[in-house]
């Protein structure tokens, strides 16, 4: 009995060891599996079909028959030979850069301001940011439309009353530049809360002793910011920047609704609108798929630095 028990234990311990080693190896996969499973199940086929359709002539006629005609890289060719595509790309890059820069700079300034406020003012400002954050873009667009309408927009009224100039019946949407500038104000306004609150959270990780020590040493506040504060919040700012690039490059709802269908032309297209107009409105789904894939490639190229950094950060050693 004793021997038997002994062997069993020995055997089972051995077995358990290898199982547990195996188990330990499997744990991360088990942990990741649900996310991969869900994403794969939902996005797998759509992505495959996007790639397939991008290689086909696929319009309304083909859509109804559920059957496209393979035409190789023709869709990509026509898009890349379309001067509208290149103009739109350039415009979108400038637009996204401006939006990302404004959002991050103003958002960080607000976060820095929050640290310096009395508690009640800080609560007030945070509350305001939360209100802004909880306004759906669809709603925000309507409010913007309403505040800047030509007839009795409150913005025109305020500017006129403040003697900034005569803004009676001023139209804020006359040129492509002014249209996109209005879209920028809307997007920056909507994105500020997320950036400001996140940077504020990161700022709270900055060691106060260091800041005070630097101040006592007589360092200028600008230097303190550069040497002490900035290094701590850099990772957060990097993440926010790359997320903002992803969002602003493909933005659709705000420009489309604020500029309005009646005023969307090739002269003020952004990539998101270009994709929608070429792919859906003209019902040329093959071309739309090709544009989607090109957009993905461009965003990936823009984010290469970020992706590499992300893979490195927190590397388990």
């Amino acid at each position: 009995m004793a021997t038997a028990a002994g062997t069993t234990t020995k055997w089972s311990r051995h077995r358990r060891l290898s199982l547990s080693r195996l188990g330990r190896g499997a744990v991360p996969y088990a942990l990741v599996a649900p996310v991969v499973g869900v994403m794969g199940a939902i996005l797998g086929y759509p992505i495959y079909s996007l790639v397939r359709i991008s290689l086909q002539r696929y319009g309304l006629f083909e859509l109804i028959r559920h059957h496209g005609v393979y035409i190789g890289l023709h869709n990509f060719g026509t898009v890349l030979h379309d001067s509208v595509f290149w103009h739109t790309l350039l415009r979108t890059l400038v637009f996204a850069a401006a939006n990302v820069a404004l959002t991050l700079v103003i958002g960080t300034l607000i976060a820095l301001l929050l640290v310096r406020l009395s508690t009640w003012v800080r609560l007030l400002v945070t509350g305001g940011l939360v209100l802004v954050w909880s306004t759906p873009p669809v709603v925000a667009v309507q409010v913007w439309n309403w505040m800047t309408n030509v007839q009795n927009g409150v913005v025109n009224y305020i500017l006129t009353e403040l003697h900034v100039g005569n803004y009676f019946q001023h139209n804020w949407y006359t040129t492509s530049f002014s249209q996109l500038a209005m879209v920028t104000t809307l997007i920056v306004w909507g994105a500020l809360p997320f950036v400001a609150i996140t940077v504020y959270a990161a700022l709270s990780q900055v060691p106060q002793e260091l800041v005070e020590a630097a101040e006592i040493d007589g360092a200028r506040s600008w230097r303190v910011f550069l040497d002490v504060t900035l290094p701590v919040i850099t990772p957060v700012i990097l993440i926010l920047t790359s997320l903002s690039i992803l969002w602003d490059f493909g933005v659709f709802t705000q420009p489309y609704l604020l500029i309005g269908q009646a005023h969307v032309t090739t002269g003020n297209y952004l990539m998101g609108i270009y994709l929608f107009e070429e792919g859906y409105v003209r019902a040329d789904f093959g071309r739309g798929a090709a544009i989607s894939i090109l957009m993905l490639v461009i965003v990936a190229a823009l984010s290469v630095v970020y992706v590499r950094r992300m893979i490195k950060i927190g590397e388990v050693t």
Binding site: V27, M39, I42, I47, L124, T135, L192
Partner: protein, 277 residues
């Protein structure tokens, strides 16, 4: 001391000005919702409607399906956030605590999904969901929202887990707990603020989403509240600004309530960082 106080007062003034500017659009929306049509259209704006009218709110609430659609939105958002938090947390643990083959690939997948242009996927997604009869159901929308919420949540949670001092976790292990036991008992409470912060973001993004909900849901009784709101604009006839602003206000209320409910935890999450520093 005095100089410092003066300084602070100065910053406070800046803060209040900032508050006024950022909140003005929201204020204007709410104030418009309480004005009569003549006040709304007048050339000289009424700042505060002294005799507020509730007519626009009544009109908005009389639009069919408001309460049903609020309920639908809540179901969609809560289920999405719930599932996303559990799944993302597991994956975040794997990413921050384990080294395994395919880790890089997983990271690239997570980042790559965020780069997909959503508009390009509308029709293929519809086809998949239609094949499994999940069009015009909340489940279909939840599944789509998960693909949006998961990558972001994995990222953020991973950051929060990385922020937890290793010693705490090791101390737990010495106690004889298994590694996962340590996670469950030590990690979870410490990551709670992170979970709250992440779920806030997932909550707001899902609540505000419009395009996929619009395409996937057809029955008035099965739509989300942003789709309900779009009916104030979809007609070829007049836009009723008052009702639209009232409806917009109503749409934002649940989010604000959600914030009020968890605001203590957010504050905790934010100060937790300070304590750590």
């Amino acid at each position: 001391m005095n100089a410092r106080r003066a300084h602070r007062a100065g910053w406070n003034v800046v803060g209040i000005a900032l508050f006024a500017v950022t909140v003005f659009p929201v204020f204007w929306m709410i104030s418009t919702a309480f004005k009569t049509n003549d006040q709304i259209n007048a050339l000289t704006p009424t700042w505060f409607p002294l005799h507020p009218t509730l007519q626009h709110f009544r009109d908005a609430l009389n639009k069919p399906f408001f309460w049903t659609d609020v309920k639908n939105s809540l179901v969609v958002v809560l289920v999405t956030v719930g599932i996303a938090m559990v799944l993302a947390f597991l994956a975040a643990v794997a990413l921050s605590k384990y080294r395994f083959t395919g880790r890089k690939l997983f990271i690239i997948l997570v980042i790559g999904v965020q780069m997909l242009p959503g508009a390009g996927l509308i029709i293929p997604l519809y086809v998949v969901l239609a094949r499994f009869h999940e069009v015009n159901t909340l489940t279909g929308v939840i599944l789509v929202y998960l693909t949006g919420a998961l990558p972001f949540s994995v990222w953020t949670l991973r950051g929060f887990i990385l922020g937890i001092p290793k010693e705490l976790e090791e101390a737990a292990m010495v106690d004889g707990s298994t590694r996962f036991g340590a996670f469950a008992r030590i990690l979870l409470p410490l990551v709670a603020p992170g979970l709250v912060a992440t779920s806030v973001f997932a909550f707001i993004t899902s609540w505000n989403e419009y395009i996929f909900a619009r395409v996937l849901l057809n029955d008035g009784s099965k739509q989300t509240v942003t789709v309900w709101l779009s009916y104030f604009l979809g007609t070829s006839r007049q836009t009723d600004w008052g009702a639209l602003m009232a409806a917009s206000t109503l749409t934002a209320v649940p989010v604000v309530v959600f914030f009020l409910l968890i605001q203590r935890r957010i504050a905790f999450g934010l100060t937790a960082g300070a304590v750590r520093g």
